[in-house]
Amino acid sequence: MQRGTRLAFVVFLAPALLVYTMFAIYPIVDSLRLSFYTVEQGQLVFVGLANFVYLLTDAFAAPRFWNAFVNNVQFFGIHLLVQNPIGLMLAALLTSGLLRRAEGIYRTLIFIPTTLSVVIVGFVWQLIISPLWGLVDTPLLGQESTALPTLSLMSVWQYVGIPMVFFYAVLVNIPRELEEAGRVDGASGWQIFWRVKFPLLAPMFGIVSIVTYIANFNAFDLIYAVQGASAGPNFSSDIFGTLFYRTFLGTGTATGSVTLGATVASLMFLTILVGVALYLVFIHRRLRSYQLAS
């Protein structure tokens, strides 16, 4: 029986493991490997950590890298501080019963942008805020101080439906009895939300944050669609994704380098790995889950 179970494990795991290894683990390991090489006369030559040293210390490459890192942190910060609270608020409104039958309509409408192509979202917003054809006179996308926040908010507008749906799923599952018990004990709506519902929501808040973190540090498409690969003005909207694209494929007249590109990808991977690890160690373990008896 025991042996049979083990065999079953292997048999059932094998297809997924195989596909996953081939299309996920192998490429990432190979990409990590590439970052230790350079191309000379068409041949791969092992150079150890030279690519990393170059990216992190070169007088021209290092400021680009750190600029992309800081911008990426900012990009993530804006999502964390704007997208998730708004998502929570929308979910709370949707489940509050205030909207009655319009609930489904709002839920769908708010979620729709998530399903749109970033190219469309980027283009539409670009027109809306264009000083030539649009509603805003300030060149929001053309000033170094406003370009990145503007792009972040476009992205927030597009993806706010995701945290909303996550939170919504938790909130609709909270049994009414808990709310009623709170009300009987004399708690206000505000207190019920923060003292009763929010603790039940907290683990989801953690998961949403970490998913946002991963998505933001891999973000690329919106910035590329709106600002192009050079992530202007003056690299003020440059994040890891666009830096990777430029390094790997080149842009305009600059030639790309596969191995340096792989190095940027490795550093992206590392950043995400460290971020997720920190989250797991310091936050996730402290979150308490409550078993809800329904």
Binding site: P131, P139, G142, T253, A254, F269
Partner: protein, 449 residues
């Protein structure tokens, strides 16, 4: 948590995968060839036999000119196939922004077309160094081109030719003829007159003087610095001196060019910082702007969409300078994929492409792209003729940073564009622009170290 980690992996990989996918997606040419792909590594003999049997050999052409598909398919290819019934051509363009990356991976993967459209200078030199472009020093027809045209597709030392010069683009200014009439303006010839025209347009207020925006920073060099600049640095003289390390970017010639451009800023449209190149095309075509510095590559577009009468004038010169210089940039060449199964047929095509017949056909099919051969070509397009007439009065030069200077990191062209934009957006003084470009140059370019 495993889920999120998986997600992390997938997303990181997504980028890599997307980069590789173009290779698979955009290779319909190879699949529709009559010969199966795996014939590549076998002997050439069966192909040759097939050709003799009357089965035409199909050659596929790699290009970034997706705008020209119709011209190739309806005019150029039929003309060639009429003369060479045993060779068929297929034009397979890739979007310009993706061309270099996609071509490079196709060459590495052995799936690239037989004929490669070559970018000038560094990009093609890189491909040649990596062994992807066949050397064609002995090709018949190369004698039709002068040294200025050939050098764009030679090694830096000039010891090997790997592409046939196909076309150059000439930089110039488009202007709204109706606006000039209305405001009563003459075509400016000197830089002061140019600024004066801008000032008068500004005072009149009907038109935005310059169709300009800095959201795309490449235009800062391509259609400003490289358009008006050659008159400051004496064209090829200045360019060669810079390349040789004899003149730094901080030389007066270059700084003065930037000082002149700096004076344009008041005449840009409002919010120019987020105005893209496409926006400026629209702005000008709709007749809202009076002058658009650009190049001959826009002729077809403006003939299509301009709602006003469009004419061109050449870059203005500094006061008291008689000699004028134009940017007659060798832009496109044709080369042979070193890995092709049909080297002889490709050679036949390249020889044909080096001749006058092709030059005339091409110049008329794609107005604004001028053949580089020494032969006379009749172009049946007014604007194109105006552009090409400048060759008689002025000396030609290429874009300042395109040779050797984009081969390192950071690319000097990218730095110059970015800093020129900063000069307008952030009031960075022209001397500092020059200073910073020079620093970038000194960081890796040996003649300046």
């Amino acid at each position: 948590m495993r889920r999120t980690r998986t997600l992390a992996l997938c997303m990181t990989l997504g980028l890599l995968v997307a980069a590789c996918q173009t290779e698979v997606e955009e290779d319909p040419g190879a699949m529709t060839e009559e010969e199966p792909e795996d014939a590549e590594d076998t002997e050439d003999a069966p192909d040759d036999e097939a050709a003799e049997d009357g089965d035409a050999v199909t050659l596929s052409i790699e290009s970034w000119r997706s705008d020209d598909v119709a011209q190739w398919e309806e005019e150029i290819i039929p003309a060639f196939e009429d003369e060479h019934p045993d060779i068929q051509l297929e034009f397979n363009p890739t979007a310009p922004t993706e061309y270099d990356g996609a071509l490079s991976s196709r060459l590495e993967g052995g799936t690239a077309g037989d004929i490669i459209t070559c970018r000038s200078f560094d990009r093609s030199r890189d491909l040649h160094e990596r062994g992807f472009l066949e050397e064609i020093d002995d090709l018949d027809g190369l004698e039709n081109f002068d040294e200025f045209a050939l050098q764009a597709w030679q090694t830096s030392e000039g010891d090997a030719q790997f592409c046939v010069p196909l076309a150059a683009v000439i930089h110039g200014n488009y202007y709204n003829a109706e606006a000039f009439d209305e405001v009563g303006l003459e075509i400016p010839e000197t830089n002061d007159e140019f600024l004066d025209v801008l000032e008068q347009l500004q005072e009149d207020g009907t038109y935005t003087p310059l169709a300009w925006g800095t959201a795309d920073d490449w235009i800062a060099t391509s259609t400003a610095f490289d358009l008006f600049g050659p008159n400051f640095w004496d064209g090829e003289d200045g360019r060669q001196a810079l390349l040789a390390g004899d003149k730094p970017y901080t030389d007066d010639d270059f700084v003065q060019a930037w000082e002149f451009l700096d004076q344009w800023q008041p005449y840009f449209p409002d919010g120019y910082e987020s105005v893209s190149y496409e926006d400026t095309q629209q702005l000008f075509a709709l007749g809202q702007a009076a002058i658009m510095p650009a190049g001959s590559w826009e002729i077809s577009l403006f003939e299509d969409i301009a709602e006003v009468e469009v004419d061109v004038f050449r870059p203005t010169t500094p006061e008291g300078q008689d000699q004028c210089y134009i940017n007659d940039h060798p832009d496109m060449g044709l080369g042979m994929n070193a890995d092709t199964d049909h080297p002889e047929e490709v050679e036949t095509f390249l020889e044909w492409a080096a001749g006058q017949e092709f030059g005339e056909l091409y110049a008329n099919a794609v107005p604004g792209f001028f053949p580089l051969g020494d032969y006379e070509v009749d172009v049946d397009n007014e604007l194109a003729n105006e552009f090409v007439s400048w060759r008689d009065e002025c000396e030609s030069t290429a874009r300042l940073n395109f040779e050797d200077l984009t081969a390192g990191d950071p690319s000097i062209e990218e730095e110059a564009s970015r800093l020129t934009v900063q000069m307008w957006n952030q009031d960075l003084p022209p001397e500092e622009v020059a200073e910073e470009v020079q620093q970038a140059l000194e960081s890796w370019y040996e003649p300046h170290q």
